[in-house]
Symmetry: C2
Subunit: 358 residues, 2 copies
């Protein structure tokens, strides 16, 4: 069977690896587990998984609308943000249309673009930072989508509120600005933007968020988009009827109320991110400033080899080779205990004589 022409443009996703018995710091998961309230909801509703879920996820959208101070009509739920990205391309991208994407970022912007026969165009970055001037310069007649990850995965840097606002004003009305805020809850910079504000008066801004990180529900696959009602209504046309299940919807709704878990998660991240930063300094590994639940660090040599050696010491981190950063790794912020294991592993790798950053 001959496949679609565009399939040659799709690259296979490289997931974070996990060997049994290792500390997994390669996928930015919540190290404290899932939200306990979400677990209660799963136990409560499991016996009803023989029934079809509410395809429009009304309860969850209502709860999210309350939290973000928008209407349920401003929200679409996806099988993870991944699916919201695919639905975005499926709604707006005609074959040959262009999408502007930062050079080193989450791979699924390119995937969604190529899946719908679009053409990704990559904007240079500097010191792990997205350069909005470079992105703006690439927006042309055929551009329909602009992807921005804030804080950026995998570098951890962010675009500030004033800068983002100015950029959004300059994006033409017929170009959709997608702001992926998968990690926004971990950001603490005073000028970190709330991109939802931009959706109130602009019909061409879509904000993505997820339950996979802060709420610890990566395996339930719940992400969502916030935008104008008109835009969300269009996206619902391409949404498969039952794209999220009952347990996913119920667990996510419950997790939103789990403020104790959220606070614990943020406190751990705040504390351990500093510990991790200090240890990487001690080990001579340069890093980018991070507003997320991970740190992006330079190991000064082949990142895949470096990660393989760390894996032998019982810790998995993400080599950023597939992100176009072949000497960098992304290390998730773990618990204090996981950090201790990581630092021990890093010390052992160094003691073996393979310099961390020669």
């Amino acid at each position: 069977m001959k496949t679609r022409n565009t399939l040659a443009n799709l690259e296979e996703y490289v997931p974070g690896r996990k060997r049994p018995g290792t500390v997994k710091l390669s996928s930015n998961e919540n190290p404290l587990g899932p939200s306990p309230r979400a677990l209660e909801a799963i136990a409560e509703w499991a016996a009803q998984v023989n029934t079809y879920p509410d395809g429009l996820a009304c309860e969850l959208r209502g709860a999210l609308a309350d939290q973000a101070d928008v209407a349920p009509e401003n929200i679409i739920i996806g099988n993870g943000s991944d699916e919201v990205l695919v639905m975005t391309a499926g709604t707006f991208l005609n074959p040959g249309d262009r999408a502007v994407i930062p050079a080193h970022t989450f791979s699924q912007y390119e995937f969604a673009t190529s899946l719908y026969d679009g053409e990704p165009v990559f904007a240079p970055m500097q010191d792990g930072r997205i350069l909005l001037d470079e992105m703006r310069a690439l927006i042309g007649e055929n551009t329909r989508l602009v992807f921005l990850c804030n804080p950026n995965n995998p570098t951890g840097t962010y675009v500030g509120a004033a800068e983002l606002r100015a950029f959004a004003r300059e994006v033409p009305d017929d170009v959709l600005l997608v702001v992926d805020e998968a990690y926004n809850e971990f950001a603490e910079a005073p000028d970190f933007p709330d991109a939802v504000e931009l959706t109130r008066d602009r019909g061409n801004v879509l904000v993505l968020r997820t339950f996979s990180k802060l709420y610890g529900l990566a395996s339930l696959r719940v992400g969502y988009g916030i935008a104008s009602a008109e835009l969300i209504s269009s996206m619902h046309m391409v949404k498969p009827p039952f794209n999220t299940g009952l347990l996913a919807q119920k667990a996510a709704t419950a997790a939103l109320t789990d403020t104790a878990f959220v606070e614990k998660t943020l406190a751990n991240n705040r504390e351990q991110r500093e510990v991790l930063r200090a240890e990487l300094d001690r080990l001579g590994m340069p890093q980018y400033p991070s507003e997320a639940n991970f740190i992006c660090a330079d190991c000064g040599r082949d990142a895949k080899e470096f990660a393989a050696e760390l894996a032998e010491e019982g810790v998995s981190v993400r080599p950023l080779t597939s992100f176009g950063m072949p000497t960098w790794v992304r290390i998730s912020v773990g618990t204090a205990e996981q950090n201790r294991v990581l630092v021990g592993a890093l010390d052992n790798v160094r003691a073996r004589g393979t310099a961390l950053h020669p």
Copy 2:
């Protein structure tokens, strides 16, 4: 924001309705609940939903491969069969390509086709039966996909083994024959085909199956496709990295071993389908012969009105208006108790003076 040209061709899905407190016989769900072994798996693995699932679902694919006597490389897992359908179009359908679809069948074949800018072409049916000669006659130069639902949703009829084999031989090598077997386990006709056999020597046959019906896991969203390793490998290129979650994979794997639940479900369906058939005969409602877990019956008047009156009596059934059968309803086979409630409701509707089948 201007949407893709093709969006005008997408129709909104009409789900089975459920009012609180009603007996829901509108979505062909398992009336005995979910597989108990699946529930055990959910309880066992819930605490790990903070981690990302295995994107390739190796354990589940291995178990399915054993069951179907194929290799794991012959299987792709989807977020419900719905997603496998979308991935099928995404893998094989270039804009303008045609898909041949029976006139009265599951709506998602047309949805997936239109989503990727394909053109659906509908083959006439007779007495609720798919006519393979009519489908064959529509296969032309631009045809890339042929969809066959066996047993057919919503009519319940089936295509026999010899007929299907002959048809598959006549489908050109560069046209993919998709055989959706969502309901195949309920079929009891001696000549009901095992379409997986066709995949062994033909590279252009894809069989779809689901955990939503027999195993009672509709809300966990697990469907799968079986085909040649080459075809499945191509489809994996368009699969989002984490399209099914940990609980979905674990529950489905456990459900496969739940032979007691499977036997109980099939016994209930066998028995209650006959009860339902006899009652519909008594009420003068013509039906198509059913090999599935539902019966398709003619109410002789506007099916939406009829379904609305039944809903007031506490029972929801599916009017087939959106399937192009405006006087027919699809009634899921329930438990003995649900059937009793249904029959009482049908009697009440008749007693009101609104004839069932004037």
